[in-house]
Amino acid sequence: MLLSVDQIAKSFGGNAAVSGVSLSVASGEIVGIIGPNGSGKTTTMSMIAGLLPVDRGRIRFDGVDITTAAPYHRSRRRIGATYQNARLFDELTLRHNVQLSAQAKRSAETHEIEARSQAWLEKLALRHVADNLAFALSGGQRKLGELARVLVTAPELILLDEPTAGVAPSLHDVVAEALRQEQRRGAGIVLVSHDLPWTFLLASRIIVMDAGRILIEGTSKDIGKDSRLVDAYLT
């Protein structure tokens, strides 16, 4: 198994944000995590990416325990993540933002990194803003730029938090195709999104979270028919 998360938990000031979540992701699999606001999706992703330390539980990546590994260690182990608020470097150009990630991991020669960056910028319709400083980009362009920054490193595990939030609907298919391409390459993908139809279309397995716990887990087809999904969003 590429990623194994075992009973992780996180509280903030005595309030449990995540309570004993376990999940696994195989290579070449897309897993969608959905749930209402405050259900613990982003906290779970942040713990897997290493931005938040876990209170308890274990996280293993490719057989190695990474529970306490620093974010840059996880990143260098080829775990790529995008966040709810895109963390671009505002006063670097988008191109330099994208290249920096691959360079930091020393994942390829400079000319190869430049070529790969250019290819992803074109694929995600960012070529025309590639040399703009990041602070001048729109919200959607920032999200796509962050995605390009992750994909250029060809990670084995991709964690995406709301990758299409703010992105023009006409580009959702572009993002989906990029992720399918990564899936074919063998990357495991965890996708958190409020865009349920898009997530159901893309993910082979769906995890529904509510109140910091996993409520239901199953194939897109089964989850779509489960009445508890509607209850979670309405109550």
Partner: protein
């Protein structure tokens, strides 16, 4: 006219060396979000390193001997960060920036007393970087020392500017400066980068001290006045801003020199402070401070 031009030349030359020193301070603050209170002593160390190198290797041209200053500064900075300033879990009760401030203040006292023990309280002066004086526009003259120091400071500043803009490591430091968490998640080793930035900051302090040495001599507390100006410069320029350090350095050089010549030399150290206060009244975060700091 001649006085005005020669004062202007002095202002630019002093400003360039101040800017070099302030660049080190702002680099450390930008990457580590911490102030190095031993910066002044590292400046003094650079002066002594130049003097000692000249004495140990008398055949070495002074323009090469002065390069001992940044070398010694870099090594000491690296060791200080490695032994004392590397963030550890036990720091959790303190803010890291506060810890660095107190720790480097302690280091500054230790280094200053070490200077007194080793070199004594007397003034020492290294060999001249370049003997003689040279004519400048407006009929004024500039000493060889001042000329070489200024050229070396400008080269040092240009090298740091190029490094930050054009190298992968430089871009990593700028990334940390803008968003340390973001830098970590894209795979940048922030701790290692901080150590390197601290060492380079110390090297710049020592280099500026080496360049000041032939102009003002070296003594155990020689770094206090320059580092005070260095703090003034980074505050008025904007903490963590490289353009702020450069422009601030030149502005402080200008008001210091013109104030001393056209107002009074008795208050030569307060003109920069008055400028700083005036700027902070209009721009409380300094001239070049931005929401995301800028290298």
């Amino acid at each position: 006219m001649s006085t005005f031009v020669s004062t202007g030349i002095f202002a630019l030359t002093d400003g360039a060396i101040y800017a070099l020193m302030a660049l080190g301070l702002t680099l450390v603050f930008g990457v580590m979000r911490a102030i190095n209170f031993a910066h002044g002593e590292l400046c003094t160390l650079g002066g002594y390193a130049f003097v000692v190198m000249g004495a140990l290797v008398p055949w070495m041209p002074p323009v090469l001997a002065v390069l001992a200053a940044p070398l010694v500064g870099f090594c000491l900075g690296w060791m200080l960060h490695w032994t004392l300033l590397t963030p550890r879990a036990t720091f959790s009760r303190f803010k890291y920036g506060d810890f660095v401030m107190v720790a480097t203040f302690a280091v500054s006292i230790i280094i200053q007393n070490a200077f007194i023990l080793i070199f004594g309280p007397a003034y020492v002066r290294p060999d001249s970087l370049l003997a003689g004086s040279f004519p400048m526009p407006g009929g004024s003259m500039i000493s060889g020392d001042r000329l070489v120091s200024t050229v070396a400071a400008v080269i040092g500043i240009a090298a740091v500017w190029w490094f930050l803009r054009s190298t992968q490591t430089g871009r990593s430091w700028r990334a940390i400066n803008q968003n340390a968490v973001g830098a970590e998640v894209v795979g940048i080793d922030v701790r290692r980068s901080s150590r390197a930035a601290f060492a380079v900051g110390c090297a710049l302090a020592a280099f500026s001290g080496g360049l000041f040495a032939p102009l003002f001599s070296v003594y155990p507390t020689a770094g206090i006045v320059p580092v005070t100006k260095g703090f003034m410069i980074i505050i008025l320029g904007g903490l963590g801003s490289v353009p702020g350090a450069l422009v601030g350095g030149l502005l402080v050089g200008i008001v210091d020199e013109f104030g001393a010549v056209y107002v009074s030399t008795a208050y030569s150290d307060i003109y920069g402070f008055l400028l700083m206060l005036a700027i902070l009244l209009v721009k409380p975060r300094g001239l070049f401070a931005t929401a995301t700091r800028q290298f």
